[in-house]
Amino acid sequence: MNFNLTENQKMLQEMARKFAQKEITPEKIAEHEKMKKFPKELFSKLAELGLAGITINSKYNGAEMDTVSLTIAIEEVSKVFASLGINLLAHNLGAIAVELFGTAEQKEKFLSAVSIGDKICTVGLLDANYKTNKAEEIADGYVINGKHFIVNGEIADLYIIFSVLNGKVSAFILEKEAKGKEINNIETMGLNSSSFSELMLKGCKLSKENIMKDDINIEEIISIGRIGISALGIGISQACLDSSIEYSKKRVQFDEPICNFNLMQEMLTEMEMQTSGARLLTYNAAFLRDQKQSFSKEATIAKLYSSQSVVKSALSAIQIHGGYGYTKDYAVERYFRDAKATELLFGTTELHKTEIAKTLIK
């Protein structure tokens, strides 16, 4: 087995890492977190680097790279600013949905602009119980009703909405101007700069041009989303570890740097082990997709493991930083608030426990 990144993947990693270090400064993060503002300038810079359509075909301005590359980009950005990481994920996921399920006209109309970040995209999946999202065919189109939790809410130009039409999963492209839609910004525990919103569709009328292809493989989108959330978790987990190593080496108590104490060492070791494990699971799931093998179960396992791990890592990171870790002087408290979302987005931990078991017993 070759666990090494390819040359292209290494270049992408290097580029994303350099960008994150140089452009995503603590001041910019603080500003966006405080104003709860979508980091548009940073997103535009990511688009300039070709990261707005990482896996999209070059005929639509995409970078035509693989799922592993998408995973790398999300991890590297999330390591520094998880809100931007999830913005990047949602946008790329929308682009992938258009490429996979868009009609020829829709791809022509939207995909090239999306891939260069000229149009910002987001995805509205089905709610947990598939109850509120319903689409109905009417005379000259469709009417959709439902509620979706989304990121990029206030800034998105395109919403890829999944709904249920005649008992079957269907997808629609909503443009910003569509009537019968309401976007409410929601205050959350973390991911404060992700423009986390509630998209309410109340009698939202769409024309026949807005419905995507007939055969919607929503599981593929959910699975890629889970790989992305998993990558986000790994990024945060690595940041927690890096911060904890640095702090524990310089903080002196009882005449020694605290990294010398066994209980600190135990936490550092667990963080390293969890981050490594999550990384291997996640990259494996991405690799399987790139090999055109089934990857849904692996994506879910990766996400389940990565999300639980990153929450533990973040709590340990705060613990290692002591009283200082409880203040906003250090980033670890934000890492924790951001990390917790990974156990809830694209399905909860509890849901995954049932889903994976069902694949084992069928």
Partner: protein, 371 residues
């Protein structure tokens, strides 16, 4: 016991009707709940374990634990303000003060006329609490203080402060002494307000002394007895933080049960039922540990091991319970529509303040390994 349950009902009624409605707001704005604190003073909730002779409510440590628990159940910020004021700000003077000091200060504190604060922690004295660098030099019949303290609860609101300072560097831990300092003393200034993960309605600041002159009578306890003063204070403080954590955990359970009852689809899931069951069981265990420590205090026993166990366990339970509570609420548990995301942010401090969980474990192990 019925009387204890009557006391609990009394505090709960106040907590539900007066404190709960402002909890989310003060978390958002960081505004200190002065009105609530005033009301608590009037109800006797700021001096529960102190005798009426000194302005207290004349109750015991177990009622004090219940009081902190019930307030924290709805609002961690108000809970910690109450606990820090009582166990850290008032207790040291009550336990170690002269008759004069008790009459002068405990009466004001226990009645809630003003708040008290405890200045132990310093930039270089965190877990290593005995690494005190603040100095108190006896000069011309008074003490001159120099140094700084950090992470002090209610520092910019309190009027009476108990602090530790080195009076004799050559004596190590036995060269630390306790002092009472009043707000507004020249050379005593409040510094940075901390912006925190949780407990955002509680006030946490730095303060510093620059040539601050205090009278000789400000010495609390005997010279060089400071370590004993603060260790005993922390023993009691840990019981109160255990009670605070217990309250937060109970709040998380109550919110979760309420949510599950309103959302039938969630209630069918055994994993959810397991979380509720484990929460309830762990909370019961934590309650026994906290009340046991409080009962021993009421019997005049030293509770070093028991208070460390109570805090260690209850804080871990508060973290698990609030974490599960968010999961039970699903994605909406991550939003500020529900209080559960605030509960875990508040709970995290209980694993750190007044001695980290790691320190609690070392304290317990040390007690076990004593010959």
């Amino acid at each position: 016991m019925e009387e204890l349950e009557n006391f609990r009902a009394f505090v709960r009624e106040f907590a539900e009707s007066e404190v709960k409605p402002i909890a989310a707001q003060i978390d958002k704005t960081g505004e200190f709940p002065s009105e609530i604190i005033k009301k608590m003073g009037k109800l006797g909730l700021l001096g529960i374990p102190f005798s009426k002779e000194y302005g207290g409510t004349g109750c015991d440590n177990i009622r004090y634990a219940i009081g902190v628990e019930e307030i924290s159940r709805v609002c961690g910020s108000t809970g910690i303000t109450m606990a820090a004021h009582t166990s850290l700000g008032t207790f040291p003077i009550y336990a170690f003060g002269t008759e004069e000091q008790k009459k002068k200060y405990v009466t004001r504190l226990a009645s809630g006329a003003c708040l008290g604060a405890f200045g132990l922690t310093e930039p270089n004295a965190g877990s290593d609490a005995a690494g005190t660098q603040t100095t108190a030099v006896l000069k011309d019949g008074h003490y001159v203080l120099n140094g700084s303290k950090i992470f002090i609860t209610s520092a910019s609101i309190a009027e009476i402060f108990v602090i530790t300072a080195v009076t004799d560097k050559s004596k190590g831990v036995h060269g630390i002494s306790g002092f009472i300092v009043e707000k507004g003393t020249k050379g005593f200034s409040i510094g940075k307000h901390e912006d925190k993960l949780g407990l955002r309605g509680s006030n946490t600041c730095e303060f510093s002394f620059e040539g601050c002159i205090i009278p000789k009578e400000a010495l609390l306890g005997e010279l060089g007895q400071g370590f004993k003063v603060f260790m005993k204070t922390l023993d009691g403080g840990r019981v109160s933080i255990g009670a605070m954590a217990l309250g937060i955990a109970q709040g998380a359970l109550d919110e979760s049960v309420k949510f599950v009852k309103q959302n039938k689809e969630v209630s069918n899931n055994q994993i959810i039922k397991k979380m509720l069951a484990d929460m309830a069981t762990e909370i019961s265990t934590a309650r026994f540990l906290v009340y046991h420590a409080a009962t021993l205090e009421d019997k005049g026993k030293t509770v070093t091991k028991e208070s460390a166990m109570a805090k260690l366990y209850a804080s871990a339970v508060a973290m698990r319970a609030s974490n599960w509570a968010i999961q039970i609420h699903g994605i909406e548990g991550y939003t500020k529509k529900y209080p559960v995301e605030r509960f875990i942010r508040d709970a995290k401090l209980t694993e750190i303040g007044e001695g980290t969980s790691e320190i609690q474990r070392l304290v317990i192990a040390r007690e076990l390994l004593k010959s």
